[in-house]
Symmetry: C2
Subunit: 264 residues, 2 copies
């Protein structure tokens, strides 16, 4: 598993009786050289936009990850949770396309439409279809049908594409407003990760206490996660989500946040 | 587990790594005296309308089942899957009401509204709430919200009660038409179980081959399960569902079925 990783992933893996092996993430994503020495049987990755750091898996590492899976008869689980939201260039293709018989691909409507729909999908190697189908059947006899039909219709009529294009420019404007305000109000902070997704990763200079900042901000109704929430260690880092923010409110929010950072 | 039982239940139990212990069902439901000698830690029952036989758990056995759970520090899982559909008298109260700290109760909208909603609910002993909440969270992070809100509204406005009253008289008419047609066309068959649910259990005289009858009927677009589909042995028995039949079509369907039974 990526280190740091989406904490829910680790809980699921542990709960399934598996042993999570942390593999460090740097600016190029998971360190595949360290994965190769780890003895792991499966790699769970978020290559399009690493959760939580926001980096993208570098092209040579994508190739190396697939080669690792072939060599070790291993499986790659690709959580493509917000691949649709990339603002600076076209989205990266899925790993799944490189090695369909090695990659278990998961996508979701949670980031593009709403988590309340509980809609996601898997693309899995042919040999695993039947056993995964059976697991799903025994877990819940299948997902609610009305949403599935509505979502299929939404895609077929081209509405999802139109929605994504519309939201991409809105999210991009929110992200730009957030990054600009951070540069102005908190010049000592460093925005990390690529121009994608629905949050920015903001690294503060050493000495700041991210949990104290989070608690003080919460008092002022500014809510976010910090790196430590992902059981990860590193410089103090705030994860600022902008998916649900009004663009016009971002400047004042960051000004208030900057005051809190200085006073905490 | 009840023997015979709803086969899906047994698959889930086995898949969870538990060992199903079959306990015979007679006209009064599960034989609690045999359960008490079985060494089981948990009893999974369908007391309001046993699946598949359609019998109801007798009052003295309800008391005995709860006493068994208290004595053995055991859990009763009550699947109340179609308790709402009883035609001859008011529905029996749930076991859960007798022993809230011993019974894990499950209800569903699948029989009253539609299985496509995938809506159900649990009422569980206080000490189990947190661990069950966590299992659910790790399994799927929760159920689709739109249906939950719509269903809550449907209940709050009294629409579910109105729907149940309306459907109860329709289902009752369908059941009556089915039972009358069976008496006329297949007098040698015996209708078992109580006037409840959405299917009738029809026992044929010995010598009939239930699987051959099922296959021949399927050819004639008359589809049903038979006792053997529940991994149970006993006299040849057909499970005839009427939830989705038009009342007017029932007579002709039973006439055709009777011809198939005689010719197979």
């Amino acid at each position: 598993m990526e280190d740091p990783c989406f904490v829910y992933h680790r809980h699921i893996v542990r709960h399934a009786g598996l042993e999570p092996v942390p593999v460090p993430v740097d600016d190029g994503g998971m360190r595949i050289d360290i994965l190769a020495r780890s003895g792991a049987d499966v790699a769970l990755v978020t290559p399009a936009h690493q959760s939580p750091t926001g980096v993208v898996l570098a092209p040579e590492r994508r190739t190396a990850l697939v080669a690792w899976a072939e060599e070790h008869d291993a499986i790659v689980i690709e959580d493509d949770y917000d691949a649709e939201h990339r603002y600076d260039r076209d989205p990266v293709g899925a790993l799944q396309g490189l090695a369909p018989e090695r990659v278990v691909y998961g996508g979701t409507a949670s980031k593009t439409l709403a988590p309340a729909l509980r809609l996601g999908w898997l693309v899995v190697p042919q040999r695993m279809v039947e056993s995964i189908r059976r697991e799903k059947y025994l877990a819940d006899q299948g997902t609610a049908r009305i949403e599935q039909h509505a979502f299929a219709d939404f895609i077929a009529r081209g509405e999802l594409d139109r929605h994504l294009r519309r939201m991409r420019s809105r999210y991009r404007a929110r992200r730009d407003a957030l990054v600009t305000a951070l540069e102005r109000e908190l010049p000592e902070a460093r925005v990390k990760g690529i121009a994608a997704g629905l949050h920015v990763t903001v690294e503060l200079p050493p000495g700041h206490d991210e949990q104290a900042i989070k608690a003080a901000a919460h008092q002022a109704s500014i809510r976010f996660s910090v790196l430590g929430d992902y059981d990860a260690s590193g410089p103090p880092t705030l994860m600022l989500g902008y998916g649900a923010l009004a663009e016009a409110a971002i400047g004042a929010g960051v000004r208030e946040l900057a005051r809190i950072v200085r006073e905490t």
